[in-house]
């Protein structure tokens, strides 16, 4: 008689790989934005790699769902874990989307705007990193979650401030860009900052699930 379906290790590994893929996608997001702004030739490689990690993340997410439901693992928390994993998926999606949009739409960014663009991408990536770390803590060591959640909220508010500064620079600065062009840049600012918004969304979900995971 087989009492347990010993798929636990497999699920654990899938979760780790999934989070690794998302983390890598977010790192490539920042590197990609940086390369785009510097007009670096590595940019297309970053776009490709980021899309590849996002694809891998989707694959791992599919496996996680299958193993969780097929073998009925962690039944009391499976719904929470799946929701958390699902909402994390947006980190990979948005990372890929920004780079693909940059590649396809090729927006012209003026030199004086680049540092702020770079900073937004950098802090957005940091927020994603902090929230992924928080998810790892949720899965392994509940005690340390709060520190990561605080970081995410802080980074998100920093990105909001930078976003506002950059918008002011675009619309009120010396730039002689056409209004349509300014709107286009505005759209990209929003896109880059979306990663921190997603991270905040994951953090909010995590802060609720943190209480539900108690014994």
């Amino acid at each position: 008689m087989r009492i347990f379906n010993n798929r636990n290790k497999e699920l654990e590994i899938e979760m780790e790989l999934y989070l690794d893929s998302l983390h890598n996608a977010s790192l490539l997001f920042y590197e990609g934005v940086k390369n785009y702004l510097d007009d670096d030739e590595k940019f297309p490689v970053r776009v490709y790699d980021c899309a590849e990690y996002e694809r891998q993340a989707d694959e791992h997410l599919k496996n996680i769902k299958f193993i969780l439901y097929r073998y009925n693992l962690v039944p009391d928390l499976s719904a929470d874990i799946l929701e958390l994993m699902d909402v994390c998926d947006d980190i990979g999606d948005i990372s890929k989307e920004v780079l693909l949009d940059l590649q396809a739409e090729n927006p012209k960014i003026e030199e004086d705007m680049k540092p702020l663009f770079r900073e937004i991408a950098k802090i957005s990536q940091k927020s994603a990193e902090a929230v992924i770390g928080g998810v790892r803590f949720y899965l392994t060591q509940m005690r340390s979650i709060d520190e990561n959640l605080n970081k995410v909220y802080f980074y998100e508010s920093e990105v909001d401030k930078l976003q506002h500064d950059l918008k002011k620079l675009i619309y009120q600065g010396d730039s002689e860009l056409e209004y349509a062009h300014k709107l286009h840049l505005s759209y990209f600012i929003k896109k880059c900052a979306a990663l921190s918004d997603i991270s905040e969304k994951v953090a909010l979900v995590l802060s609720v699930f943190q209480f539900k995971r108690g014994i």
Partner: protein, 352 residues
Amino acid sequence: MGGLNTSLIFLSAGLFMGWSLGANDAANIFGTAVGTKMIKFRTAAIIASVFVVIGATFSGSGASQSLGELGKINALAGAFTVSASAAITVTYMTSKGLSVSTSQAIVGAIMGWNIFSGYKTNPEVIYKIAGTWVFAPILSAIFAIILYLIIRAFLANIKIHVVTLDQYTRYALVIVGAFGAYSLGANNISNVMGLYIDVSPFKSISLVGNLTLSSTQILFFIGGLSVALGICTYSGRVMKTVGSGILKMSPISAFISVLATSLVLFLFSNESLREFLLSRNLPAFPLVPVSQSQVLIGAILGIGIAKGNKNINYRQLGGIGLGWILTPIMSMVISYVALAVMQNVFMFEVYK
């Protein structure tokens, strides 16, 4: 053969009690684990059945001594009537949604026999048993609080993946479930078969090696089988209700509550432990059948207190208190009336 058949008919009341015990009380052990799908019902039923029979056969005599001290029922028809009265009380009170314990029903029914037969009830035994009913849920709550705080501190300080923890929790639930079933069999079998000890129709038998089953052990083995039958045939439905409805607990809380309950039942039924404590001049627990459901409620309240939950359901506590008084009284009255009917209408010898 005819005598044995008659004996078996008279045992039927006890066997019904056993079936009822298995159907209801096994859910207290494996309810959350099965209801939350941590363990399959089939696995739970097999483990519970095996260990309840082992507990009943090899450790069941301890708690039955107290029932023997309360009243020595010396006629098979009397034992049947007392057991059936307790069973009727349990069934009626359960149907009315009242907190009921087979232990309390049996004690009340024995007192009914004592009054009917003129057997003098020893008040000290009554105090001992009644005191245990109050003390056992409190002890269980204390155990649950201690266990909860230890496990919470332990889990807060170790790094363990939620999936691995889930796997360990499943192992723990199976182990503690086996222990719970063993303790249930050891402590509560006296409610099922304890009344028949002095009128047992069985003789001792020798098994392989030096293993001998005494007449009482055979009786308890058969009683254990009836409990197992209750587990296999009816407890599944109750388990699913417990796990998904009335008592919503996390698997780890379920583990704590079952462990606390099992420890209490074990303490009140283990003769070796009692002898060990007494030999060292330490206070020992009386060997008394206690209500597993009420001990479990004590454990759940203990977890609630440890969690800092101030919303204690006093209505539920009141229900237990009411059960302490109502169940024995009702059972005593039914037993007295039934014994009178058995003796005077059906002309059975209900006492010697």
